[in-house]
């Protein structure tokens, strides 16, 4: 092969190959460490509460339920398990949604919260709580989540179609998202003003986000959406990474940018809307989860995608523990705690690793 041989070679070709292999191994180790941390956090989440159990008791209750008392079994499996699992599933879903939003919109501020999707869901939920108006004809018990979901979906698709219009810049999309936040917050305030005292407290509680609403069917639906989304994202891992190099560059690699953007945005709309409709507004995880993964693993989607899942799940799982540790016997709404736990951690990560942030 023809070569430019005028300058000496600083490193041998083999060294490049070996260094890449070492880099990939290091990233796999980080993912393994994050998985271990998530398992530990999950166990602590099950052990922690008004009645505190040792990790040994929790593990025994999980592996061999008949070996522990009926009380421990009931608390671990029936009371704490749905909340702990919901924290992991919702954290993962919101973080992945944020990660792919940031990828395809090429914007570090993109997340379900900052682009108005959570605000739209809150408005949809409030519409159901205050007026009982249903966007789709569904049973009364499903009114709140279905309304929240439909509004979130409408907001996501609106953002997507605007971002596809000719001449619309990334900054315009973010401004539009902020405009959506203000619009839906104003509509929400309008409904709150009209609401009865009982409905008002229900709306306020819903908008704070809470995992205590977790049930196995809700976990099942959220998990199903996640399990449908992940293989589709995984299939486009190289293409999604290429999109971060710019639209023209990705297209030059043979990536059908428009089609992948559309597919990804449709999946994101489900990933963002479903958890929010079940647990309310949880703002921080969809924005910060991906940034944490990006800083420690880079943006190769083969590592960034599992990294975002784990960082989001870990963030919300730790938050779940903190939310019931501040005042014994009181579980704070998780939406409040997420930012309080995540911000100091995020700041320390940015300040210690400035070159790897967006």
């Amino acid at each position: 092969m023809a070569e430019i041989a005028a300058l000496p070679l600083p490193i041998e070709a083999e060294a490049g190959r070996e260094r890449y292999r070492a880099l990939a191994r290091r990233k796999l180790l980080i993912l393994a460490a994050m998985t271990a941390a998530l398992c530990l956090s999950f166990a602590v989440d099950l052990a922690w509460g008004p009645a505190r159990y040792s990790l040994g008791e929790v593990v025994a209750a999980l592996i061999n339920p008949s070996s522990v008392s009926a009380q421990i079994r009931a608390v671990v499996w029936d009371i704490r398990m749905p909340v702990a699992v919901m924290a992991i599933v919702v954290g993962a879903a919101l973080s992945v949604a944020g990660a792919q939003m940031q990828t395809i919109l090429a914007n570090p501020l993109a997340s379900p919260f900052t682009l108005g999707i959570s605000a739209a869901a809150s408005f949809g939920a409030a519409l159901a709580i205050v007026t009982s108006v249903s966007i789709l004809p569904v049973a009364a018990t499903l009114l709140v989540p279905v309304n929240a979901f439909i509004m979130a979906l409408i907001a996501t698709l609106f953002i997507h179609f605007i971002s596809q219009m000719r001449g619309v810049s990334v900054q315009t999309v973010v401004l539009l998202g902020i405009a959506l936040v203000f619009t839906f917050n104003a509509l929400l305030a309008f409904l709150q003003y009209l609401a009865s005292e009982q409905a008002l407290s229900a709306v306020v509680f819903w908008t704070m986000g809470s995992l205590t609403k977790a049930t196995w069917p809700k976990i099942g639906i959220t998990l199903a959406v996640l399990l449908i989304a992940l293989p589709l994202f995984a299939r486009h891992a190289w293409a999604l990474t290429a999109i971060r190099l710019g639209e023209d560059k990705a297209a030059s690699f043979g990536v059908n940018v428009r089609r992948i953007r559309l597919e990804t945005m449709l999946i994101i709309s489900l990933l963002a809307a479903v958890p929010v409709s079940f647990v309310g507004t949880i703002g921080f995880v969809g924005l910060v989860g991906p940034h944490i993964a990006r800083m420690i693993l880079g943006e190769d989607q083969r590592f960034f995608l599992p990294g975002s899942i784990l960082s989001g799940a870990l963030l919300l799982s730790v938050t779940s523990i903190v939310s019931k540790s501040i005042i014994p016997g009181v579980v704070f709404p998780i939406g409040i705690i997420t930012a309080l736990v995540g911000v100091p951690f995020f700041f320390s990560l940015i300040l210690s690793n400035r070159s790897r942030s967006w």
Binding site: M1, A2, E3, I4, A6, L7, L9, P10, I11, A13, E14, G16, R17, R19, Y20, R21, L23, A24, R166, A234, A237, W238, A239, T241, A242, R244, L245, G246, D248, K249, A251, S252, F253, G254, V255, R294, M295, G298, E299, D300, R302, S355, R356, S357, W358
Partner: protein, 250 residues
């Protein structure tokens, strides 16, 4: 061997026909074609039309293509703020449409291209930490690992120092010959075009003005009409043709 010909090709930007009626002789494997013209003449638009990124009238005839990556386009904008190392960014260009697993032969190929472009020293630097010239070299590597049969490069040497410009153009010409590739390069430096190109395609105001042998196309009249300059073309001590600009023509 691959061959490319444009027949009455035009390109739309939105609803406006930005490039029209470009007809070229057959461009053959191993040739380097310089595409020259003033700013906003339609060079990038023509490249995007050939790649299929823009629509338009006319016919792009490609004969004898063998691989799935027939055409690769290297865009002018090489800026990217993705958190990736140079090595990863070149690997992902190579692995598009393929499985997640990375084999030793994939990595050997990346190493080979990086060594050929002499960018191994920046292999594990983040893209965001590169200079403009380094980004351009990485972009060339990304295009090369696609192993195209037709390579369209939009001002690939605009941010490079003189030494690197000569290195890269010389390398691309040899690569075109050795791999049986057609290389089209949009370039502003007419002296480099005269020295390295087999053919020159002149485009101005969205229309092709000439296409053919470099020395026959780059003339004093063309320079006056297309670039609005008074210029001479003289031989240097190495017997290369050089454009010497005396001033602007109004």
């Amino acid at each position: 061997m691959v061959a490319l010909q444009l027949q009455s090709v035009g390109a739309y930007h939105g609803r406006k026909l930005f490039v029209e009626d470009v007809t070229t002789p057959v461009m053959k494997a191993g040739e380097l074609i310089a595409v020259i013209g003033p700013n906003a003449a339609g060079k990038s638009t023509l490249f995007k039309r050939i790649t299929g990124l823009l629509k338009g009238p006319g016919k792009i005839v490609i004969d004898g293509a063998r691989s799935r990556n027939t055409i690769t386009y290297m865009p002018q904008d090489t800026s990217a703020n993705a958190v990736l190392t140079v090595y990863e960014s070149i690997l992902l260009a190579h692995k598009q449409g393929q499985s997640w697993t990375v084999s030793d032969s994939d990595l050997s190929f990346i190493d080979e291209i990086m060594r050929a472009l002499n960018i191994t020293s920046i292999a594990f630097r983040d893209l965001g930490a590169l200079s403009g010239g380094q980004r351009q070299l990485v972009s060339i590597a990304q295009a090369l690992v696609r192993e195209p049969e037709i390579m369209l490069m939009d001002e690939p040497t605009s941010a490079l120092d003189l030494h690197r410009q000569v290195e890269v153009l010389d390398f691309m010409r040899r690569r075109a010959r050795s791999k049986g590739m057609i290389v089209m390069i949009a370039i502003h430096d007419l002296n480099q075009a005269l020295r390295f190109a087999d053919k020159v395609l002149v485009i101005a105001n969205g229309r092709m003005r000439a296409c053919g042998n470099a020395r026959e196309v780059v003339t004093v009249d063309m320079l006056r009409d297309v670039y609005k300059v008074h210029a001479r073309i003289e031989k240097c001590s190495m017997d290369h043709d050089h454009v010497i600009v005396d001033g602007t023509a109004h």
